[in-house]
């Protein structure tokens, strides 16, 4: 492995968990702060000022920006499966914080996701396209 490939692999392995965690926590806080029903159109605006929902929105904005940064140096075909580990973490969060049951089907699904992430994350390079020499090239 070249020095450049090793640098990108390390950078990606440090960055991808932050992307995944911000997405999982953003969705969790959105769900926790959301009322049972949004009846009137204005409710869709006022709900954004509830503390947990506001925190969730901020985390999801962070998730979007971090994911865009990740895509600036890593392949889409690498980022999509690797960040899918968020589905498995969301299921875990549901069990731990919301006491939702995880049956054998969900455990199997979590196992398949983890295996898929391990195959792509551990077995392939983060980037297969040539890099640009200048950061803000347009």
């Amino acid at each position: 492995m070249t020095h450049e490939a090793a640098r990108l692999r390390l950078k990606t392995r440090l960055f991808a968990p932050v992307v995944v965690l911000s997405g999982v926590l953003g969705n969790y806080f959105m769900k926790r702060g959301m009322p049972a029903a949004l009846v009137f159109p204005l409710d869709y605006i006022t709900v954004l000022f509830r503390p947990y929902v506001a925190l969730g929105v901020l985390l999801l904005i962070l998730w979007l920006l971090l994911r865009m940064a990740l895509l600036s140096w890593a392949d889409l075909s690498y980022v999509v499966p690797v960040t899918s580990i968020g589905y498995a973490l969301t299921a875990f969060a549901g069990q731990v914080f919301l006491h939702e049951a995880i049956d054998w089907k969900r455990w199997t699904g979590i196992g398949l996701i983890v295996a898929g992430v391990a195959l792509v994350g551990g077995g392939t390079e983060a980037r297969t396209f040539p890099s640009h020499p200048v950061e803000t090239r347009q």
Partner: protein, 120 residues
């Protein structure tokens, strides 16, 4: 009706992600994470036509997803739209010219099967 929403969500999500990847590749690797540099990068991205088109496509996907959730259960919506994972891998290979080896195909296929099971 719900399959029409699924088709819109899948197509718009895949288009948005591919456009976002193309836009970020055009922008170049983000190396500097200091506030001033992030501000300059965001100003540059706001003028990047691929990123603008990606935002439009993702907005379409968001509202189509809301429509889908209004006519279908979450346990149907999530696995039905998880097919974007494979579609994006196909587009990454042919539109973005990424080298997608068998490990990536296998990984994407395992993830889509896993998502289908987890969301039931």
């Amino acid at each position: 009706m719900r399959w029409m929403f699924v088709a819109i969500v899948v197509a718009a999500t895949a288009a948005g992600e591919v456009l976002q990847a193309a836009g970020m590749r055009r922008h170049g690797e983000v190396r500097d994470f200091r506030p001033g540099a992030i501000g300059r990068a965001m100003a540059a991205l706001a003028r990047n036509r691929f990123v603008i088109a990606a935002v439009v496509a993702m907005a379409v996907a968001f509202f189509a997803n809301l429509g889908l959730l209004s006519v279908a259960d979450l346990s149907f919506a999530v696995p039905a739209t998880a097919v974007t994972c494979v579609l994006e891998t196909v587009l990454a290979k042919y539109a973005l010219k990424e080298r997608v080896n068998w490990l990536r195909w296998a990984g994407a296929s395992l993830v889509i099967c896993g998502v289908a099971l987890v969301s039931q």
